[in-house]
Symmetry: C2
Subunit: 195 residues, 2 copies
DNA sequence: GGCTGCTGAGAACGTCCGTTCTCAAGGCTG
DNA sequence: CAGCCTTGAGAACGGACGTTCTCAGCAGCC
């Protein structure tokens, strides 16, 4: 068991605990008990609890981005790659332990009190929007469309979390399909006269 | 200064504090200092801090719903009434103290630890979805469209909160206009063949 | 006016948090 | 094998939390 392995183990345990119960609801002694790593060692591995929180967010970002990328690459057409984002969300919402976006949760809990947490959340969301923008540009869509699709994805996450059902993913996906179809067909101007 | 007035004053003060700093970040002594109401009195007015949190959520729901209703009623056509929802969001996002949806924040912070808070958040969101569904039905739209527009509104709130800019409101509004136009024109079938 | 009962303020309480300290055990060096 | 030095565990610490207690002040009544 190398130091690095223990570190990763602690981060993984902390991730599950923080995500499942809320960050402030998990004390260092609980993390000690669940990870089997003594307090002394925890504090030699990390300078503070906040550092653990940041490491957890980093890991969560890496896993999430990697999973998303894998889902995207599995699709064949540019349009399917874009829609794969929502299928990825749908799969995620169905997991038992799903409790919303960990970044949004962390932001609500600590965003006003810890600037570094707020920054980590912001950069995660920026990264997601960048991925989406790239996919949208691949089908010739505008940045505006990318922003709209990102808003749908964000809304699906919070809606699924609060309602406790995964159906928001399908609704967001169908909404995205509509917006993409509109953009594809270049029908926005044509429809504008009817509204 | 009646008991009722003091109660309302405490709830208002607590709302501002909880929303601005996070619920767990505000202790009872801070609430005492900011409201000018002694701890003894606070605990005669409310049985616990959690009761104050619930009262705050109730008040926030009342104010928010009332503001939304006012914004809706000010619009003249059914379509404008529906889009007024997003203009209401836009105005809200521009307020300096905007820090996201207080209910989403509370859910992320306490949803896993306090079932009553989770319930309050769920019923607020259900109420919002019900309002939206009513407005959508008034223009002949489906429940599916209402769900999609709700997701857009949710996404706009978290996006605006995390990004720190109000532009998500406009993006969500334009996305909503697109979805409504598609629904209005009954063009979904026509477009399906092009996708 | 003196006694009584109630309300007020905030000191005090127990608990739990994040963090540090003590000290015992073990491995490497000579 | 003796000495030392690193590392381990978890008891201990200071502070902050939510909640309760004490007691001074002040009505109202005899």
């Amino acid at each position: 068991m190398t130091t690095h392995d223990v570190r990763e183990h602690v981060i993984g345990t902390a991730d599950a605990l923080f995500y499942g119960r809320g960050i402030q609801a998990v004390g260092m002694d609980v993390l000690k008990a669940e990870s089997g790593v003594s307090l002394k060692r925890l504090y030699t591995l990390f300078p503070s609890k906040e550092a653990i929180v940041l490491a957890v967010l980093e890991r969560r970002h890496a896993l999430w981005s990697q999973g998303l990328e894998t889902a995207i690459e599995a699709a064949s057409s540019p349009r399917d790659r874009l829609l794969a984002v929502y299928d990825y969300l749908a799969d995620w919402f169905c997991i038992d332990s799903f409790r919303g976006c960990g970044f949004i949760n962390a932001f609500g809990e600590l965003g006003a009190v810890s600037p570094s947490v707020a920054d980590a959340v912001r950069s995660h969301k920026r990264s997601f929007q960048a991925s989406l923008t790239r996919l949208v540009h691949d089908i010739g869509g505008s940045s505006e469309l990318a922003a709209q699709l990102a808003i749908l994805a964000e809304g699906a996450q919070t809606t699924a979390a609060i309602s406790g059902t995964p159906e928001a993913a399908g609704q967001a996906r169908r909404a995205a399909e509509s917006l993409i179809a509109l953009s594809d067909a270049g029908l926005r101007e044509a429809l504008a006269v009817t509204s």
